[in-house]
């Protein structure tokens, strides 16, 4: 097929390694991409995040190997699945003996089956590019009424310059199952590289899934993730998203609640310095009654960084007795940092309790003085207050090994102790 050069999407993918076989799923995505364009800030969902600059660059899909020792988490004791530049690296991965889970490569799945489970998921130009050109990923199945014996660690590394990583995963939580996924994102010598990852999942009835996402890529790469989960009745879904890395980050997260008595929780901490841009874009779509959701995102922006929060809760008609809470709080540490916050409620049922709050400000001057009056230096006082500010989000990470790892990251990156 000849390339139409004025089509920006086709231009963008022109250096990608073409997939060996065009499966039905890929074919659909390729078709859908035809005639699509990248969003501008005139598109409401991308109002505060400009991608034009990053999608004009060219990227390659390059299989590589990496030293992942630095990125493994001590004492996490997890199934470790390693993806370098979006390619699954079996040799670096360790899958433990665990009767509760099964791990398959996405490309080894039955095509009909896979096309079925990803059918009807909402897509945008980036998730479609990923779908059409994905280079690897895993399909995790947590078996009925079983609890995974170990956390499942998706370890992603960008290796080398101007590469794009199109990894794509699916986590299938069968009825009554329970598991924790840890997804980490790192980079090495990877200026102007691009993570374009998709993580999907289905949490069946009575199942419970926790995801901890930690993105600490270098401040010269771009990160767009699309995460989409469907919850069935009486299920639990918790995701904690911690972002300190990448020059431009867009965390797109959608949870469709398709059953009663579900609980959905999303927490996020984003800490930006220099010229980092961090966008958290979330949606919780409540279709059934008697569900609760809670969302708490906190940002600390320093330097010339920009923080964005755009969270939406939709309560559909007849989805009664929904309690939904949304909170976005931001601290600006420097004069040149900025924040755009857009929490949204769209409610079509009446018997609901929904609320949201959003604050932006500096650190509390009175609190700083109080600490200084107790002998704490101004710098330590600020550090304490910042730590206190985001601490309750980090506390949502119950996995101690991971929490220790996060604390170390903050200490190394910002000199912040908890």
């Amino acid at each position: 097929m000849e390339l139409v050069l004025d089509n920006k999407v086709l231009e963008f993918v022109s250096d990608f390694k073409k997939p060996e076989t065009i499966s039905k799923v890929r074919k659909q995505a390729l078709d859908a991409l035809n005639g699509m364009d990248f969003p501008t800030t005139r598109v409401e969902d991308w109002k505060y995040t400009r991608v034009g600059k990053y999608v004009k660059k060219k990227y390659k899909q390059v299989q590589a190997t990496a030293n992942v020792e630095d990125y493994t988490i001590a004492d996490l004791n997890a199934h470790q699945l390693v993806f370098v530049n979006g390619y699954y690296d079996e040799s670096l991965s360790t899958i433990k003996e665990d009767d509760a889970i099964s791990v398959h490569k996405i490309e080894e799945l039955d095509e009909e089956y896979y096309s079925d489970i990803v059918d009807g998921t909402s897509e945008n130009v980036f998730s479609l590019i990923n779908k059409a050109y994905q280079t690897g990923g895993v399909f995790i199945q947590v078996k009925k009424n079983k609890k995974a014996n170990f956390p499942i660690h998706f370890l992603h590394v960008l290796e080398g310059e101007e590469v794009i990583a199109n990894a794509r995963h699916f986590v299938h939580m069968e009825t009554g199952s329970k598991a924790e996924v840890v997804a980490t994102y790192h980079s090495n010598n990877s200026e102007n590289s691009f993570t374009n990852v998709v993580l999907e999942g289905h949490v069946e009835s009575n199942a419970s899934l926790t995801i901890n996402k930690l993105q600490s890529e270098a401040k010269n790469v771009f990160h767009i993730s699309n995460e989409l989960f469907v919850q069935d009745e009486s299920s639990n879904f918790l995701i904690n998203t911690i972002t300190t890395g990448a020059l431009m980050t867009r965390n797109g997260l959608e949870v469709i609640v398709e059953g009663e008595n579900c609980h959905t929780e999303m927490n996020g901490a984003y800490l930006g310095t220099e010229k980092q841009h961090m966008d958290n874009h979330t949606l919780i779509d409540q279709l059934y009654s008697n569900c609760t959701s809670s969302e708490s995102y906190k940002g600390v922006m320093d330097g010339k960084s920009v923080g964005v929060f755009n969270g939406k809760v939709i309560v559909r008609q007849d989805a009664q007795k929904i309690a939904a809470y949304q909170s976005n709080k931001n601290i600006l540490l420097s004069k040149t940092a900025s924040v755009n916050s857009k929490p949204e409620l769209e409610i079509y049922a009446d018997d609901v309790r929904c609320s949201h709050g959003s604050t932006i400000g500096e650190l509390d001057e009175d609190a700083i003085f109080y600490l200084r009056a107790r002998g704490i230096s101004a710098a330590s006082a600020k550090q304490l207050l910042v730590a206190g500010f985001i601490g309750d989000v980090l506390d949502k990470v119950e996995n101690e090994a991971l929490r220790t790892n996060i604390d170390e990251l903050f200490l190394n990156d910002f000199g912040w102790k908890f």
């Binding site: 931001n330 924040v339 929490p343 049922a349 009446d350 609320s355 949201h356 932006i360």
Partner: protein, 483 residues
């Protein structure tokens, strides 16, 4: 208790509640044929005997409008008006101007009475000066003399063009330029009349100034323009009431209101909007697409208060540009939607000056199958050191077929700012109703109490007489609610 009045009953009553002000006045109108082109604009201008500079402004706006598209980002759904099917000028038949209240057509006086605004009485009891606009043409301005003594100019827009062209020229379009948005451009091209008010330096306007707008003629659009200029150190409280008769087609209302609050001045602008909302099946009603904006210079203040119960579709964001240091912007709003009404309303607070502060209090009440959205923007520019904003947006749902939506946009580019936004959406509290009942208050009264209390914070910001009227409008939703 078998005869307990429930929320369902309230919702039902609300649904059955019909529009009170639905009647057409039978005075003769001078209406031009439908359609819009440059000739129509020339015709409007010549009918109004306007100076050339104003015609040029109109044509400029028209040309800009033809390049614009109707906005579609609001959370509303309606058949787009056919702008060639509207008559852009409809004046009551008499062309002569009224020298005094006694000259006013008795039929029109009757109309005002039906609206509950007996002007004589208002003049006597409240000392309110009223400018009355029917189908965009101003017919009577009372108390002109008394105001004149203080140097206050309060007159129809046309009179201002004729008698105070320098002021109109200086301020018109400075706050809402004709390129601002689709409807503002349309208004700037075809506006027929409206009100003008100027308060000289240091003068505190001793009475409330009031304008009543009414769409009367079928198949017309109303495009009035209001310009209020408060010169340095002055104060004015300005009231605006709106009604329209029942008609089964949609009528278009696209007004522009510009406020200029110079150094140390204060403008308080209150609106009770009760345009015809359409019937309970969603037929008819006014499309209310209004651009209202005020500019604050140093230490100036602008306060918008609105009670919105009317219109089929509302698209309205009274805003403040806080340009001067230490200036203050306020927005207090109650918006009630019922049946198939749709409202997308809120405010924009643009902070440019240092130590500027703004407050947004919005109360939405949705009944029937209506959709009620708050949309607001708080923007802190890098220059706005120590800016403060507090926003509270609450939505009350009275029906499981209605919708309540909250879309705040908060943009902050200055670290010394402090911004707090909070919003809640809930059903009227069963526990509150029960608590009242337990204290001996019947459920109907309880609901009345709760809804009134819910809006109190906003009503408190209205001038007394107006608040009473606004409260009455709200009560319409609650009366006859004994099951």
């Amino acid at each position: 208790m078998s005869n307990t009045y429930t929320e369902e009953d309230l919702a039902k009553n609300l649904q059955e509640q019909e529009y009170k002000y639905g009647f057409t006045s039978d005075f003769k109108s001078d209406t031009i044929p439908v359609g819009l082109n440059e000739d129509v604009i020339r015709l409007i201008s010549s009918k109004k005997e306007e100076p050339l500079w104003l015609l040029e402004k109109r044509l400029q706006a028209y040309r800009a409008w033809t390049t614009m598209v109707e906005p579609d980002w609001a959370h509303v759904n309606y058949p787009k008006p056919d702008f060639q099917a509207i008559s852009y000028y409809s004046a009551p038949g008499q062309t002569k101007k009224y020298e005094s209240w006694d000259d006013v057509d008795p039929e029109m006086k009757e109309t005002m009475k039906k609206l509950g605004i007996s002007m004589e009485e208002q003049q006597r009891l409240t000392g309110t000066a009223v400018d009355f606009v029917v189908d965009s043409v101003s017919v009577a301005t009372s108390f002109k003399k008394k105001l004149g003594e203080l140097g206050i100019i309060f007159c129809s827009f046309s009179e201002a063009v004729e008698n105070h062209p320098e002021l109109v020229k200086k301020y018109m379009g400075t706050v809402v330029p004709h390129t601002d948005n689709f409807y503002a451009a349309l208004n700037s091209a075809v506006f027929t009349d409206g009100s003008f008010c100027y308060i000289p330096k240091g003068v505190r306007c001793p009475m409330e100034l009031s304008t009543y707008f009414r769409i009367n003629e079928g198949g017309t659009g109303q495009f009035e323009r209001t310009l209020v200029v408060a010169d340095e150190g002055s104060y004015v409280s300005y009231l605006e009431g709106c009604t329209a008769p029942m008609r089964d087609e949609n009528q278009l209302h696209a007004a522009v209101v510009e406020l200029v609050s110079l150094d140390n001045a204060e403008i308080k602008y209150s609106t009770v909007q009760n345009w015809y909302p359409g019937d309970k099946n969603g037929v008819g009603g006014v499309f209310n697409f209004v651009t209202k904006r005020g500019l604050c210079e140093k230490n100036a203040k602008i306060s918008w208060t609105q009670v919105e119960t009317g219109s089929a579709v509302t698209w309205k964001y009274p805003s403040c540009i806080l340009k001067g240091d230490n200036s203050i912007g306020e927005f207090y709003s109650v918006a009630v939607t019922n049946h198939f009404q749709q409202a997308d309303t809120g405010s924009k607070m643009i902070h440019l000056g240092k130590n500027t502060s703004s407050t947004i209090i919005s109360k939405g009440i949705s009944a029937g199958q209506s959709q009620n959205a708050y949309r607001g923007l708080v923007q802190i520019h890098a220059s706005a050191d120590n800016a403060r904003n507090r926003s509270e947006c609450d939505s009350l749902l009275l029906s499981d077929r209605s919708g309540a939506h909250t879309f705040p946009y908060i943009e902050c580019k200055n670290s010394t700012a402090k911004i707090e936004h909070e919003a809640t959406t809930s059903k009227i509290g069963e526990d509150q109703i029960f608590y009242c009942q337990q204290r001996g208050i019947d459920s109907e009264k309880a609901i009345g109490l709760i809804v009134n209390g819910y809006c109190k914070e906003v009503l408190n910001h209205m001038p007394m007489e107006f608040a009473v009227e606004a409260q009455k409008l709200l009560e319409i939703s609650l009366e006859n609610s004994v099951g």
